[in-house]
Symmetry: C2
Subunit: 239 residues, 2 copies
Amino acid sequence: MIYELYYWPSIQGRGEFVRLALEEAGAAYVDVARESGTGALMRVLDNSKIACPPFAPPFLKAGKLVIGQTANILLFLGDRHGLAPSGEAGRLWAHQLQLTVADFLQEIHDTHHPIASGLYYEDQRDEARRRAADFLAARAPKYLDYFEGILRRNKKGSAYLLGARRSYPDLSLFQIVAGLRYAFPRAMAGLEKRHPRIAALHDKVAARPRIAAYLASDRRIAFNEQGIFRHYPELDTGG
Amino acid sequence: MIYELYYWPSIQGRGEFVRLALEEAGAAYVDVARESGTGALMRVLDNSKIACPPFAPPFLKAGKLVIGQTANILLFLGDRHGLAPSGEAGRLWAHQLQLTVADFLQEIHDTHHPIASGLYYEDQRDEARRRAADFLAARAPKYLDYFEGILRRNKKGSAYLLGARRSYPDLSLFQIVAGLRYAFPRAMAGLEKRHPRIAALHDKVAARPRIAAYLASDRRIAFNEQGIFRHYPELDTGG
């Protein structure tokens, strides 16, 4: 079976968390809107006959299944491709970490869009300055402290979040680090020094053969100012 | 086994979505911080030896498991107590809807805290006015249209979101409606007229025997201005 991933073709965005899992799994997939344009994506979103319609991209077609919500797609792929523990406790723990990554990501998004996702950044820049300053001073350290603590107490000493093997939350935390480095290079340089295990996890994931090949390919879209991680120097305070 | 729910004792907040599921399931549980104070909650949050620590409340102790993240707890309870379909497709669909409820809830929260969750409302009231206006004009209708559409296309015609039976996303959507009625009575009166199936779902859930008994009990905390759903008349524009 060939998966069909539906996501905006010009940004990494939330779709990237799914792309990383598909790539690490070595799964066959089509990145539909990149190959056929956004029309194919909009036709699904606008199709009132789909039994289980997604609220928004990304969504994944897997045979007859249409699965929406990033963390839900990863829950599914984790089971199918050994990207998460198979026991109930491990599955829930992986998903719990992923949902915390999702919360972190939403707060990263809101640094540049604190008022309305439908408005331009330029129309909420003053508010973004306030929100980004709080994010870098209070929220990012809180999330990073949490994940650093998880890595510290991993009994297997694997440098991954769960036990001895890589799992989908590792891939997502890699993406968070890569994105924060792009969006907030000054602040992140300081934060990384205080979170060495997270920085090491980033490097370890980046060096995995399938991930390294993906990152070097043209399938990896470059970060840009239409995505979730945006580099606006005026927001990159602290450090 | 008696579950232990850990959540702030003076607000409904995210814990309420778990309380509703436990109540509907008829499960035995202790609402720990309500019975023993927040010290018991903080001792878990601050315990650096827990293998799977939660980032934040709510979390649920189920025997040896400590499960965090609201949607993750509901995924677990859905399986254990028949609060979701048992097949893979139905489980994923229920969870997808729950994650969309979670996104909706976060946007509701941010209407009064658009800049920083650690600041008082009064310190971000101007920004809250802008964000709430956009929320009521654009975001709330988008989410409500989505759920209304799900109810409309339910082939079983059950008035519930999934198939013929109630499931945990129904309980959560009930809570969203109850909360929006409290926070934005003017705007919600207008929105409900355009979303009759969602209003009917609210009433149907509220009338379920265990839910009705719960809502009438002192276990149900009243809405207040420390929770997620806050009534600030200056934000309740539109309608």
